[in-house]
């Protein structure tokens, strides 16, 4: 039952935040932080509490609408737990990031918490209909975040985000309905459905439906067009949630369900994933080199990194899968850090145009130091979780086909081009027409330190991630192995 | 008893006609008093003494007195009277026709089974009003209070109306 609390807490907390905003004294902010903190405690307690099945850290099954075969079926293993912790933790970071946002603050925090609630639902639902429900639900509060508190052409960007993701979500919904209806007794229980045999052709089509939703959320080219716009126009907290959570739901879904439900379809579509991913890794990296908006640049790096995740997930070998999982976490921190820093620059000078920025080194040395850290992470310097993930993906790609490995290595080289460009335009050089005169304050510095040290922590102590991820990776490999034989 | 009521009734009818056709408001008011008193006579003749008494006291007494106060504000010059007369002369036929059409079915269709009954004692009226009709009476008192407040509010003098 405590797993349901992980969804209900932020959901109801969001409602409470709506009203708490009237109390003043940052009540809604502390409320949000408290709710997310309690969520973390609940998560830890649930994972330590044990479950009957050794495969899962926590497991809960509650009937909901038995006649429709719908139940609240939640299961958490190391991967889910990491994603849930990420979602709650980044939610907190997002709250602290937007400490200065005062306009309609109650709804803002409500939307923030609701996003966390919905993505929590995605990260642990194993009833596919409930999964699809949370999948669609996730889009709405993020849409609000972009449309109401964004910058620039925020309404258009929010609509783009909504249309892309809602339309892609239909693929998931359709495939889920098909699956549920095709079972002898109507059920959406993923574990039950995984046991049913299906012809390979049907599996491929169903997987295509699932993958459409996941790949669009993952923003792999050519389905990435919404991401740069959404990131550019979203408020900083929105960008953090977008990069840290929403993209990860796509990666998580690809990791979890295709091999579990459609192993033969997975084998059939894996080459497509590899090709899409390799095109995307190069394309995203090259696009990032040409951007003039700092946030857009980072958004395209997200595209590139998520494409690498797609490659890893499609690789179907231990190293690649593990690399994709680690990269998910690493990217969540590094991208959040960069979005946060660029957001902080934007708050100060009101522009993100690389041509107008510059000179942080002179005017704000702390800023420059933290920026260099984020820069190293986006470059996949050894010692950051990003490097670990990418190196593992490359290793796996060598086992699949050396060409894919060469492509990821090339993307790694191009990453230097855009990363040094970002650093050169923002940190180096003479201060631009609008210099940043105010260095990071203690609140901002602690956010940056938390995000930066998380990147380094998981990079230097990889077992923190790799040990909990092993069951999930092994499960994928086991279901593939059953088909390959 | 009915026939005793008919004579004052005829007077009331005439007086009513005079009320609506006079040029001068003062004359009309006098005829109104006449009509009300004639009706009171009708009531007495019908054995409804309570109604008759109320008619004299409140209608002919109080209400008409209020009218008189208001009428005192009217500027009743000969020109105004002539204008009023001309207006009435221009447009009396249409309304008259309409009223005739209205009365036609009433006169034609209304029939009442007549029986002779004893006069109603005032005590019965009191028992009715403060017994079964208590709510109606209370509502009436609310109405009066509301009218009082409304009148006070509307008639209050303001610098800029």
């Amino acid at each position: 039952m405590s797993l349901i609390a992980l969804i209900l807490l932020p959901l109801l907390g969001g409602v409470a935040a709506l009203f708490a905003a009237r109390l003043g004294n940052n009540a809604e902010r502390w409320l949000s932080v408290g709710v997310l903190g309690i969520g973390l405690v609940v998560l830890v307690a649930a994972c330590l509490g044990g479950s009957p099945d050794p495969r899962w850290l926590a497991f809960s099954r509650t009937p909901w609408a038995p006649s429709l075969g719908v139940q609240l079926l939640f299961a958490v293993d190391g991967l889910s737990a990491a994603m849930l912790a990420l979602s709650l933790g980044l939610g907190m970071v997002a709250v602290f990031t937007s400490w200065q946002t005062n306009e309609n603050s109650g709804l803002f925090h409500a939307a923030l918490l609701w996003t966390v609630a919905a993505s929590n639902g995605v990260f642990m639902s194993f009833d596919l209909l409930v999964l699809a429900f949370f999948w669609e639900l996730m889009v709405v509060p993020s849409f609000l975040l972009i449309a109401l508190w964004g910058h620039g052409a925020r309404e258009a960007s929010a609509m783009k985000f909504l249309i892309f993701n809602a339309v892609a979500g239909l693929g998931l919904l359709g495939a889920v309905f098909w699956l549920g209806a095709s079972a002898p007794i109507v059920t959406f229980d993923a574990f039950e459905l995984a046991k049913l045999a299906r012809p390979a052709g049907v599996q491929t089509w169903l997987l295509a439906g699932f993958a459409l939703a996941f790949v669009v959320k993952l923003s792999v080219p050519p389905f990435h067009a919404w991401l740069p716009d959404a990131h550019t126009d979203a408020p900083t907290a929105g960008s953090i949630l977008l990069a840290g959570l929403l993209l990860k739901t796509g990666a998580y879904g690809l990791f979890r369900f295709p091999a579990m439900l459609f192993p033969e379809g997975y084998l059939a579509l894996a080459p497509v994933g590899l090709v899409l991913g390799s095109v995307g890794a190069l394309y995203g990296a090259v696009m990032a080199c040409g951007q003039t908006d700092a946030k857009r640049l980072v958004a395209y790096t997200s595209v590139a990194h998520m494409s690498i995740v797609l490659m890893g997930v499609s690789g179907g070998v231990h190293f690649a899968l593990m690399g994709a999982a680690v990269e998910m976490v690493g990217h969540a921190f590094s991208a959040s850090l960069l979005f946060f820093l660029i957001g902080a620059v934007y708050d100060r000078v009101g522009t993100r145009d690389l041509r107008d920025l510059g000179g942080l080194q002179r005017t704000a040395p702390r800023f420059a130091a933290v920026f260099a850290l984020g820069f190293s992470a986006v470059l996949a310097m050894p010692g950051t979780a990003n490097f670990l993930g990418e190196a593992l993906v490359i290793t796996g790609m060598f086992q699949v086909n050396w060409i894919y490995a060469a492509i990821v290595l090339t993307a790694l080289v191009v990453s230097v081009v855009y990363a040094t460009r970002l650093l050169k335009e923002v940190v180096f050089g003479e201060p631009g027409p609008k210099p940043v005169t105010q260095d990071l304050g203690s609140r901002e510095l602690s956010i940056a330190v938390v995000l930066g040290s998380a990147t380094l922590l998981f990079g230097l102590l990889p077992q923190l991630l790799m040990t909990p991820f092993t069951p999930a990776v092994d499960a994928v490999l086991a279901s593939l192995e059953a088909v390959r034989r | 008893m009915t026939s005793a009521a008919l004579w004052p009734g005829a007077i009331a009818l005439l007086a009513a006609l005079m009320v609506v056709t006079r040029d001068s408001i003062v004359h009309a008011l006098m005829y109104l008093v006449a009509m009300l008193l004639a009706l009171a006579a009708v009531f007495f003749a019908l054995g409804a003494g309570f109604a008759g008494a109320l008619q004299i006291l409140i209608y002919a007494g109080a209400i008409v007195a209020v009218f008189v106060f208001v009428v005192m504000t009217v500027d009743s010059t000969p020109e105004a009277l002539a204008r009023e007369k001309a207006r009435l002369r221009r447009g009396w036929r249409g309304p008259a026709l309409l009223v005739a059409l209205l009365l036609l079915p009433l006169f034609g269709g209304v029939g009442i089974a007549v029986g002779n009954a004893d006069p109603v004692p005032v005590k019965a009226i009191g028992a009715l009003l403060f017994g079964p009709w208590a709510i109606a009476v209370e509502l009436a008192s609310f109405l009066l209070l509301a009218a009082l407040l409304t009148a006070r509010h509307l008639a209050r003098w303001e610098e800029k109306p």
Binding site: - | A12, V20, V42, A48, G94, L98, V99, A147, A151
Partner: protein, 97 residues
């Protein structure tokens, strides 16, 4: 007895005629008093015919209604007389469609 009801109807009709034909607001108010007298007579007459107290009870209520109407009507008259020509109500037509 029927004659009394005809009388009541006639009083109502005369009052209505006055309402329609006269254009001075005060005359219209007087006409309304005449109109009210009709039903009042009808109630009293019917009550007398049946020996029922309800006829006079209704008369009392009509009386109250008339009092309220006169109070409001006259205060409206006073109010209107400041801003419009109350001797010709046809000039007051702000609600024209």
């Amino acid at each position: 007895m029927t004659a009394l009801f005809w009388l009541a109807a006639a009083l109502f009709g005369i009052g209505l005629f006055g309402m329609m034909a006269r254009r001075s607001l005060l005359f219209q108010l007087l006409s309304m008093e005449v109109m009210l007298a009709g039903p009042a007579l009808a109630f009293v007459a019917a009550g007398a015919a049946r020996g029922d107290a309800q006829g006079q009870g209704m008369f009392v209520l009509i009386l109250v209604l008339a009092a309220a109407e006169v109070g409001i009507g006259l205060s409206l008259y006073l109010r209107l007389s400041r801003i419009a020509d109350v001797s010709d109500v046809d000039t007051i037509s702000d609600l024209k469609g």
